[in-house]
Amino acid sequence: MNRPADNDAPEGAPKNVQEQRLLETWRTPRGWRYWSAVNNTEVGLWYTVTSGCFFLFAGVLALLMRVQLATPGAEFLSADRYNQIFTMHGSVMMFLFAVPIFEAISILLLPQMMGARDLPFPRLSAYGYYSFLIGGVFVCGSLLFDAAPKGGWFMYPPMTTDYQPGIGADIWLLGLSFIEIASIAAAVELIVGVLKCRPPGMRINLIPLYGWYILVVAGMILFAFPPLIAGDILLEMERAFDWPFFDPSRGGDPLLWQHLFWIFGHPEVYIVFLPSVALMAMIVPTFARTPIVGYGWVVLAAVGTGFLSFGLWVHHMFTTGLPAVTLGVFSAASQAVAIPTGIQLFCFLATLLAGRVVGSVPLLFIFASLATFVFGGLTGVMVAVAPFDLQAHDTYFVVGHLHYVLVGGTIFPLIGGTYYYYPLVTAKQLSARLGKIAFWLLLVGFNITFLPMHWTGLLGMPRRVYTYPAGMGFETLNLISTVGAFVLASGFLVVLWDIVRPKGKEPYAPRNPWDAGTLEWLAEMPLKPWGIRSVPIIKSRDPLWDQKDLVHDIDEGRFYLPDAEEGLRETLVTSVIDARPEQCLRVPGPTFLPMISAAFTGGVFIFGTYHWWTPALLSGAGAVATILIWLWTGTARVPEKEAKNVGLGLELPIYISGPSSVGWWAMFITMLGDATAFISLVFGYFFYWTIHDDFPPETSAGPGVVWPVVGGVLMLLAYGMTIAAWRLNRADRSGAFYFTLATAALLTVGGAAALFAAPWSTGLDPTRHSYDAIVWLLVGWTVLHAMVGVLMQLYCLARRSAGHMTARHDADITNVTLYWHFLALTVALTVGVIAGFPLLS
C-alpha cells in the first residue's frame, strides 16, 4: 500500500500527524473513566447489550409461564405470581427491549451509515441510556420483591386504580414513564441525525433506506409516546392523589385510559416492527448483489405505514361496545395498513429476484422473518375484520398472531442483523455453523410454540389466564406450545453463545466482509474510534459499489474533516434536502454529567413511587441543576474563530443558530412531542364532554373567566416581549434586551399565578369530579411549562451577561423563543378550553 499518492494529503499537516490527532481526540477513555464516554459507539453498545439482557430476562419469564400452562390446573406458579410475570413479560419486551433495541442499534449504526463521526447530541444519548438503565433495573427488580405490577402491560383501570393497592402499578407508571422520556430523547437525536448529519452530497433521494425508516419511526415515537405519558399522568394522579379521571362514580371513565393507551399502543407495534424492516432493507440488497428494487416504493411504505398506524387504535377496543360506525372506521384503516406493509415485502422479494443471491446466515433469518411475518400479517388482517375480532379478541389466537408479527417481524431480522453487523462492533465474525443451527432451532421452535395457539384461542381459551380446566380441548395444544418454547429458547441460547464465546484467537474480519454497498462498511478492521477517517462526498445510494476509489480516498483523508487541529471532536452538519455542508459542529467529549443527571431524574420517579416527596423534590432540583450545568458548559459555546477550513477548500461556520442549526431542530422536535402530550390532555377534556350530558357539570363553579383571561393575557404579553428581546439581542441593544426579558419573566410569573388563581379562587376540588380534575391538570401543565419558560428566560439573561451569548451568537435566545411559540399556543388553548368552552356549551 506504499504508493506515492499516500503523501497526497490535500492540505494541512502530514497524514500521520492528522491521524494521530484524530485518534487522540476520539480516544475512548480508559479505566473507570470509560463510563464517562458519550460517543455513539460506546453508548450504542451499552444500550444494545442492556436491552439484550432485558430480552433474556423477559424470555425467562415466558418460559416460566409456559411451564405453568403445560398442564391444566398446574400449581407451579401462584395466580398472583403468574399475573406479575405475564405483566412483566409484556412490559419488559415492549418498553425495555423492543423500542430501546431499535434506538440502541440506530445510535450504534446510524452515524456510520451517514459517514458522520457521532450523533449531534452525544450527551443526550448517554443521558437516555442511563435513564433507560436505571428505570429498567428498577422496574425489573420489583419482581424479585414480589412487588411487580400485575395489571397487564395495558394496565386497565379501574383494576389498576382501586383494586391494586400495592406499589406495583406505581412502579409501572413512573418507571416506564421515565423510560418513555428517554425514548423520546433518542427519537429527537435520531431525527436530527438523519435530517442534518448526513455526508455532503447524500441528497434526500440517496439516503440509505435505514435512514428513512429511522426518520419515520422516530417521528412515530414523537407522536405516539406522549399520549401514553399523558395517560400515565392521569392514572398516577388518580392513584396518588385520588383525582377521579377513571372513576365512573365521580365523572371519570375507564375507556379514556384505553384510548390514550392504544393511541400509543398500536403505533408502538409498528415502531417495533419498522426498524427491523429497515435492517432487512440493508441486508437484502447486499446478498442480492443489486440495489434495492423500488426505493421510492419502500419510502412510500415506510411513510404510509407511519401515518396509517395512527388510525388503528380502536381495533384493540372492538369489544367495548362502541357503535358499529366506529368499529367500521377503524376496521377500514386496519385493513388499509396492510397495503404498504405488503408493498415493502414485495420490494424485497423483487430485489432478490433481480439479483444474484448469495446465501448467508443473515439471509436465512430474512427468510424466517418473511415466512413468519407474512403469516402474522395475514392473521392480523383477519382480526382487523371487526366481526371476526369479536371472537378472536382476548384469546390465544391473538397471542399467536402478535408473536408471529413481533418475533417474525422484529426478532428474526434482529438476529439476522446481529449476524450481519457483528463485525462492525467487534471486528470479528459470528459462526455460520452456529447461525444455521440457531436458525433451525428458532424457526422450528417458534412455530411449534405459537402455531397451536391460534387453535387454542379459537377453542375458547382466553388470554392472561394463570391456568385452565381440563376437558376443553386445550391440554395437548398447550403442552405442544410449552415444548416448542424450550426449543425456541435453545435457539436463543445458541445465538447468545455465538455472541459471547471468546474470539480472541480468531482473525479479524476482512474489511467489508459481506461486500456490501453502504457506507457503514467502510469501517476498518480492527475498528478505529474516529468512525470515519474523512467525511466523503456521496454520489450514490450504494457508494461502496458505485464510487470508484472511495475507500482509498477516505482513508487517505482526502475528504472533509481529515484532521482535528484544535483537538476538538467535530462532525459535519448539512442541509435537509441536498445535504449541502452548513456547519462544522463541535460535539462534546467524555463527561459524567449525563450519568449524574439521569440518576437525579431517576430519583424523582423512584422516590415518587414510594410517595417520598421531599427526596423526590430534592432529586428534581438536582436534575435541573445538573442539566443547567450541562447546557451552560456544553452548548452554544462561542468559538475561538468564526469559520474553519474543513478540507477541500471549504470554509464552514462553527457557530450557527436558527433553523439550520441542530439545536433549533432538537427544540422544535421536542416541543412537537410535548404539544402532543398536551393535546392528549385536551382530548381528555372533550372526551368527558362527549360522554356526559352536562359537562361542565352544573354542580361545579368552573374556573371563571376573569382569572384565566388575566393569566392568558399576561403570558401572551410575556411571549411578545420574549420575541422582542430576541430582536433586541440581535440588534445588540444590551440594556433594552435585559429590561425586556426581565420584564417578560416577571409577567410570566404573574400570568402563571393568575392562571393558578382561577380554579383556586372558585374552589374547584380535583378529587370531587373529573371536570375539576381535568381543569386543574390543564392549569398545572401550563403553569409548569411557564415556569420552565421563566427558567429559560433567566438562563438567557445570565448567558448574555456572562458573554456566552452575543448579537451574533444567539442560539440560546433563538431556541428559547421557539419554546415560547409553543408555550403561547399552550396558554391560548388552555384559557380557551377552561374559560371559553363552558360559555359555548
Binding site: 371513565d253 439479483g355 388482517v381 375484520v385 369479536l390 371472537q391 375458547g460 389466564v465
Partner: protein, 352 residues
C-alpha cells in the same frame, strides 16, 4: 340520498334484508358451517368458537374458514416466491419484471382483496352489534370479581337473581345487558357468538341467538385480576317449553328442606353467617355480596365454573375457597365440624 341509492344497488349482492336481523345468507352460512365441521374434527369443545351453536358464532366461524383458506393460499404464493427467489432462481430476472411483482403482488392484488374483505366485514357487522328485536328475552348480567350475577325477568313481571349459570331458549334472540360491579370483565360464550366487555359506569349489550340445544361454557375474556382464570359459567340452551318451566321454577323461593340433615344444614347456614353474603330466597338469608344460592343444587358447577357441583367439591370450596380461587372474597370455614359441614352440604345440594 346517494348513499341510499348505493345501498339499494348493493342490496341484492349483499343479500341482507333488514327485517330479520340475523338472516344474512343463512343458507350459504349453513353450507360453510357444515363443510367446516366435517373438515374439522379438532374443533369440538364446550367453549369452542369453531363448533358454533348460535347465529353469530356460525357467521363468524364461516368468515374464519373463508379467510383462513384465503390467507393460506396467499401465504403459499408469497413464501413460494421467496423460496424461488432465494434458492431456485438460476439467473437474475431483469429489473422491469421484478418491479412488476411490486406493483402486481404488492399493490393491486392486496388492494383488491382487502377491498372485498372490508366490504364483506362491514356488511355483516351491523347485525352483530344490533340490539335484539323488540320483545326478546333480556338477561341482565353483572360481572363481579370473579363470578357472574344473572338477573332474569320473572314470569310475574318482576325480576329475580341467579348466579353463574345461564339458561336460554333455543331459536330465539336474547339480549344480555352487561354491567360491572368492579373492574372490566368480558362476557363471552364462544359457541354462541362474539364477546363484549363489561365496563364500570357503562352499560353494554350483546345479542345472541342460540340455534342448538346443548350445554356450553362461557368465560370472562378480559383480564380482571387474580382469579380471572376462574371466572366461567355454564350455558344451557333448551327448548322453549323446558325453558319456561325452568324459569318458573327458578323464580320461586327455595323450598324448605324436609330431610332432618338438610334442615340442620339450613340452621348451620344461618348460624355461620352465610346469609350475610348469600341470599336464599324465602329464608332469612338475604346477603347480596356473594352469589344467590336459592336454587344452588340445580347448577352444574360451583365457584363460577371452577368445579363440578359435587358434595366433595363443595366441601373443598367451603373449607378452603382460596386454594381453588385465589383472592376470593369468601372466607374459608375450616372451623366447621365434620357433622355441620355434612349437613350444610346436604342443605345446599338440596336447594334445587
Amino acid at each position: 340520498m346517494i348513499m341510499h341509492a348505493v345501498n339499494q344497488s348493493l342490496q341484492p349482492i349483499l343479500d341482507r334484508p333488514r327485517r330479520a336481523t340475523f338472516s344474512w345468507s343463512r343458507r350459504s352460512i349453513a353450507r360453510w358451517a357444515l363443510l367446516a365441521v366435517t373438515v374439522c374434527t379438532g374443533c369440538q369443545g364446550p367453549q369452542s368458537a369453531l363448533s358454533p351453536a348460535g347465529e353469530g358464532a356460525e357467521q363468524i366461524a364461516a368468515l374464519f374458514w373463508a379467510m383462513a383458506i384465503g390467507a393460506g393460499m396467499i401465504w403459499l404464493v408469497v413464501i413460494g416466491l421467496a423460496a424461488y427467489a432465494l434458492r431456485i432462481v438460476p439467473q437474475p430476472h431483469d429489473k422491469r419484471s421484478s418491479r412488476r411483482w411490486v406493483i402486481g403482488g404488492g399493490v393491486i392484488v392486496p388492494t383488491l382483496l382487502l377491498s372485498i374483505l372490508l366490504m364483506f366485514g362491514l356488511a355483516i357487522l351491523p347485525a352483530l352489534v344490533r340490539p335484539a328485536p323488540e320483545g326478546s328475552l333480556h338477561v341482565e348480567v353483572v360481572g363481579v370479581r370473579w363470578w357472574w350475577r344473572f338477573i332474569y325477568p320473572s314470569p310475574d313481571g318482576g325480576s329475580f337473581e341467579l348466579a353463574n349459570e345461564v339458561r336460554l331458549p333455543v331459536g330465539e334472540p336474547v339480549q344480555f345487558d352487561l354491567r360491572s360491579a368492579d373492574v372490566i370483565h368480558g362476557f363471552w360464550i364462544p359457541s354462541l357468538g362474539g364477546k363484549v366487555d363489561m365496563i364500570p359506569g357503562r352499560q353494554t349489550r350483546l345479542t345472541l341467538w342460540p340455534t342448538a340445544v346443548g350445554t356450553y361454557r362461557g368465560v370472562c375474556a378480559e383480564y380482571c385480576g387474580a382469579s380471572h382464570a376462574k371466572m366461567a359459567f355454564d350455558v344451557v340452551v333448551m327448548p322453549r317449553e323446558e325453558f319456561d318451566a325452568w324459569l318458573r321454577q327458578q323464580a320461586q323461593d327455595a323450598i324448605d328442606p324436609s330431610e332432618p340433615d338438610a334442615r340442620r344444614g339450613s340452621e348451620v347456614f344461618l348460624k355461620s353467617g352465610c346469609g350475610g353474603c348469600h341470599a336464599v330466597r324465602g329464608t332469612a338469608a338475604d346477603g347480596s355480596i356473594g352469589p344467590d344460592l336459592t336454587h344452588f343444587g340445580s347448577r352444574h358447577s360451583l365457584a363460577a365454573g371452577s368445579l363440578e357441583n359435587s358434595p366433595d367439591n363443595l366441601r373443598r370450596w367451603i373449607t378452603e375457597p382460596q386454594s381453588i380461587k385465589p383472592m376470593a372474597v369468601m372466607p374459608g370455614y375450616h372451623t366447621l365440624s365434620d357433622a355441620d359441614l355434612a349437613s350444610l352440604i346436604a342443605y345446599l345440594q338440596g336447594l334445587e
